[in-house]
């Protein structure tokens, strides 16, 4: 096992801007990195460069001290000892489940009893051993997903790549598969790279999250850190719930703001350049002394109401409420904590 190093990697397809530019990430051996970003941010291109389907036009990709690719040369995917779960699962429709799972072994010249044992173990791990002789077409979406996973498991790859593997599954199945992925990661110890546009998947699975936007790395940190201290407006909007307010902030204010620091901002006392402030809904509480807001909408979510509140200057704040509130009502709130995004 060795760590995967992306060193100032860039990829230019000749479009108006490079698909990926100067991206540097180190993934420790056995780490679980989620590449998170909106569609078109370049995350899939990064994954395809790690797999070897695309060659970087800049920088280099290394596994330990072995150079996988730079602009001049590259190790083809068939010699990288990596595995991938594709968004479409990419099961070969003309092979049975066992043949699909065992194909990487067959290519490596393993046959007979060893082949059967390895395939059976891999299928056992994803609880599909009873379906070994079936055709992929006869399986449900979740089962196909698990076959694709078993195919990754069978050769003990150095790196496992997952390209939005849950995008085509329903919510219930998603949770189950998230468990399976975590289990798979613990069991195999492989380095895993997981591409997704869904922040909840990224938070639930990864040990580290890399947020990308327009081909660049915006922030790389563990999930808790990224949630609490996002860098910039884009990461703030992408991760978790919350409202981004624009407030005039005096120079030298710390990034984490409490109610004492926030209160003057709403009373028009503060002067300074406008800054983006992220307010999580759970930090907004009812306080008769607080800011007078008007309820714009109240959405019942089961465990609570999700509110959209209009501040006196018209900006929108998000909040939760245990009690029923009606649109148009007045509500005074305090903001216990907020985070300056940049």
């Amino acid at each position: 096992m060795a760590k995967l190093i992306l060193n100032h990697v860039g990829k230019d397809f000749g479009g108006s801007r490079p698909a990926v530019s100067s991206l540097s990430i180190d993934v420790r051996a056995g780490g679980f990195l989620a590449l998170l970003g909106p569609s078109g941010c370049g995350k899939t291109t990064v994954l395809r460069m790690i797999a070897g389907f695309e060659q970087p036009s800049d920088g280099s990709i290394l596994l330990g001290d072995r150079l996988l690719a730079d602009a001049a040369s590259m190790v083809p995917p068939e010699r990288r000892n990596m595995a991938m779960v594709f968004q479409s699962y990419a099961l070969w429709p003309h092979m049975s489940v066992a043949e699909n799972v065992g194909y990487p072994l067959k290519v490596r010249g393993i046959s007979g009893e060893r082949w059967r044992k390895a395939v059976a173990d891999a299928l056992e791990a994803v609880r599909l051993h009873e379906h070994a002789e079936r055709q992929p077409a006869d399986l449900s979406g979740g089962q196909r997903q698990r076959v694709a996973l078993a195919r990754c498991l069978v050769t003990s790859p150095d790196v496992v790549l997952l390209d939005e593997p849950l995008a085509n599954l329903d919510r219930h199945l998603k949770q189950e598969m998230e468990e399976t992925f975590r289990d798979f990661h613990n069991r195999s110890g492989a380095t895993m790279i997981y591409v997704t546009h869904d922040q909840s998947e990224a938070m639930a699975l990864a040990t580290e999250v890399a947020v990308m936007s327009e081909g660049r790395l915006v922030q790389l940190a563990p999930p808790e850190e990224i949630y609490a201290r996002p860098e910039g407006r884009m990461a703030g909007a992408l991760i978790g719930q919350g409202a981004i307010l624009q407030l005039p902030l005096p120079e030298g204010t710390p990034r984490l703001l409490d109610w004492a620091a926030l209160r003057p901002l709403f009373q028009g006392h503060a002067a300074g350049a406008c800054a983006d402030i992220l307010v999580r809904p759970q930090h907004v509480v009812v306080d008769p002394e607080g800011i007078a807001c008007r309820v714009v909408s109240a959405l019942y979510e089961g465990e609570r109401y999700a509110l959209r509140l209009a501040l006196p200057d018209g900006q929108i704040l998000r909040a939760f409420s245990a009690a029923r509130v009606s649109p148009g009502e007045k509500l005074a709130v305090a903001i216990l904590s907020a985070w300056r995004l940049a």
């Binding site: 797999a51 060659q55 990288r80 479409s88 990419a90």
Partner: protein, 563 residues
């Protein structure tokens, strides 16, 4: 390095190989033809040709027959397409299969069958005692006769082009019109008809180009009445070979090619501004209820098919079953003599069987090897090069066969450089011309199957550690196997019945089935020609049914008679 080169790790030789194959089969003969045309112009052959009244009359006949033929095709094809696609008529799929059958039957066989069905010497009419009196003219030996058969032969092309458009009609658009209060007839006039115009125009253009290039029908119906169209004029120029033949023929071929191009350009012109991107749910099937009208329409369609398909085939069969030419057919005189003769005795027909089977099999399987590589390459790359290569493959198929034959004669008339072997007069020149002519037929199913493949399937194999040849054998070829099978049968079917190319390229010993049918009929052996034609029709139908069997597992649009 380009994206595709880094993305798919194909061996280095693949792209140059593909380019070389396309250059040899398409660019070489066409440019040789163009050179011959220019040389003839340079030497002033054009003057002589222009002064020849035969040119002008054949030009007129070509245009007349093609235009009338196209009109008939459009009428027939549009009626069947609308009725079979949009209504709840019973037996739609059988009617559809039967209606497109004439397209796959060789034109000379169609012509022969119709000749056997009409006129004073028709064995069928005589057996039924309804033949016109002896000495009355054969009505089909005329411009009208040629146009009628052009119409029948090419109506399926219009039907298919229109049907493809109709299948893509937005069902919700039609339903919305209904809810807006439009009656069936108004929906048809205001929604269906305007949206199906592009398909109709495209079909008409294909039919026109096919009429212009058709050789079999005017050869059998026109030559006896001294009605020469451009393809038959070229054929007769070759029969009366002189020093100027090559130049003149090159110019005549150019004329055919030009008429075809003008036809397609008119289509392009008319289609411009009619690009209705159909949005919403496609798949308009059985939208209009015929109700009681169906009881009237269905027998009408069957009657039409009877006259277009069944009656000519019965006439052909009757012609094959007479014991000797001119003897009346009754149950007591009925004999299988002609079948025995063509299958077991006549060396010419037996050679033709052997030649056609060899040529078709070699073309079908040889082209498959080529198209697997070319299709793989074309599907994996986008951009100008792929578009140019695809267009170059399609040109020889779009051009009338006679033009291609002339081009190949020009290329191979002299001995090959270095090898010093002359291919002209051997079976190999026909094989090469078939390769060129049917390249597009073979490629289309394979390339559309490749395009449908999820690229991830091959990428998954790469990550599994499989190299290029391994992937080809384990993953790629098995996945396109149904399309490859269809490609082989389709090319075999078309090559087996081909006449136009081989009519110019054959010599004694290398005649094909198409040539022999024509020659037998030409030399008065219409009973033998009919027997051979019956066998050919049976073979065609058998192979089409075999392909129908594959049909469900094939990508859309692979089988020319399905859409």
């Amino acid at each position: 390095m380009t994206r595709s080169a880094s993305g798919s790790s194909q061996p280095r030789w693949l792209l140059p190989f593909v380019i070389l194959a396309v250059a040899l089969l398409s660019v070489l003969p066409l440019s040789r033809l163009a050179v011959a045309g220019f040389v003839a112009l340079w030497r002033g052959d054009l003057g002589g040709l222009l002064a020849d009244p035969a040119l002008w009359s054949s030009l007129r006949y070509t245009l007349e027959t093609a235009l009338f033929g196209t009109a008939i095709s459009v009428l027939l094809g549009a009626a069947f397409a609308f009725l079979l696609t949009l209504t709840d008529l019973r037996g739609r799929s059988v009617l559809g299969f039967l209606f497109v059958l004439p397209m796959m039957i060789p034109p000379q066989v169609t012509a022969l069958a119709w000749v056997q069905m009409s006129g004073p010497s028709s064995p069928l009419l005589k057996a039924l005692h309804i033949a016109p009196p002896l000495g009355s003219p054969q009505p089909l030996y005329s411009v009208g006769g040629i146009a009628l058969l052009f119409g029948v032969q090419h109506a399926p092309l219009v039907y298919l082009a229109l049907r493809a458009g109709l299948m893509a009609l937005p069902r919700d658009g039609i339903e919305a019109a209904r809810l807006s209060g439009a009656s069936s007839l108004q929906v048809f006039r205001h929604i269906v008809l305007p949206l199906s115009m592009p398909g109709l125009i495209a079909g008409a253009a294909i039919a026109f180009v096919s009429c212009v290039g058709n050789f079999g029908i005017p050869a059998i119906l026109g030559i006896p009445a001294s009605i020469y169209t451009l393809p038959t004029l070229i054929f007769s120029k070759f029969s009366a070979f002189s020093s100027r033949t090559f130049g003149e023929v090159a110019l005549l071929s150019t004329a055919i090619a030009l008429i075809s191009v003008v036809g397609l350009a008119v289509q392009e012109r008319v289609l411009r501004g009619r690009d209705y991107r159909v949005i919403g749910l496609a798949g308009a099937v059985a939208t209009f209820r015929l109700g009681g009208l169906g009881l009237l329409v269905a027998p009408l369609l069957w009657l039409l098919l009877f006259f277009v398909l069944v009656a000519p085939f019965m006439a052909l069969l009757a012609g094959a079953l007479v014991p000797a030419y001119g003897v009346p057919l009754t149950f007591s005189t009925l004999s299988f003599h002609a079948f025995e003769e063509v299958l077991f005795r006549q060396s010419a027909t037996r050679t033709a069987f052997a030649n056609s089977l060899f040529l078709s099999a070699a073309t079908a399987f040889g082209l498959l090897l080529l198209t697997l590589l070319v299709g793989y390459q074309l599907a994996s790359r986008r951009g100008v090069l792929a578009r140019v290569l695809t267009a170059l493959v399609e040109i020889p198929y779009a051009l009338p066969g006679i033009v291609l034959a002339v081009a190949f004669i020009l290329v191979f008339a002299g001995p090959l450089p270095v090898l010093n072997v002359t291919l002209y007069g051997t079976i190999w020149i026909i094989l090469i011309a078939y390769f060129s002519s049917f390249f597009a037929v073979s490629l289309k199913p394979v390339v559309s199957a490749f395009r449908q493949l999820d690229p991830a399937l091959e990428e998954a194999a790469r990550l599994s550690g499989a190299g290029f040849y391994r992937r080809l054998a384990d993953i790629v070829v098995p996945l396109v196997a149904p399309a490859a099978g269809a490609s082989v049968i389709l090319v075999f079917l078309i090559a087996c019945n081909e006449l136009t190319v081989s009519a110019l390229l054959w010599t004694a010993g290398t005649q094909t089935l198409g040539v022999v049918i024509y020659n037998l009929d030409d030399s008065g052996g219409s009973d033998l020609a009919s027997a051979l034609s019956v066998l050919v029709v049976v073979m065609v139908v058998a192979m089409m049914l075999a392909l129908e069997f594959f049909g469900k597992r094939l990508p859309k649009g692979v089988l020319p008679w399905r859409s």
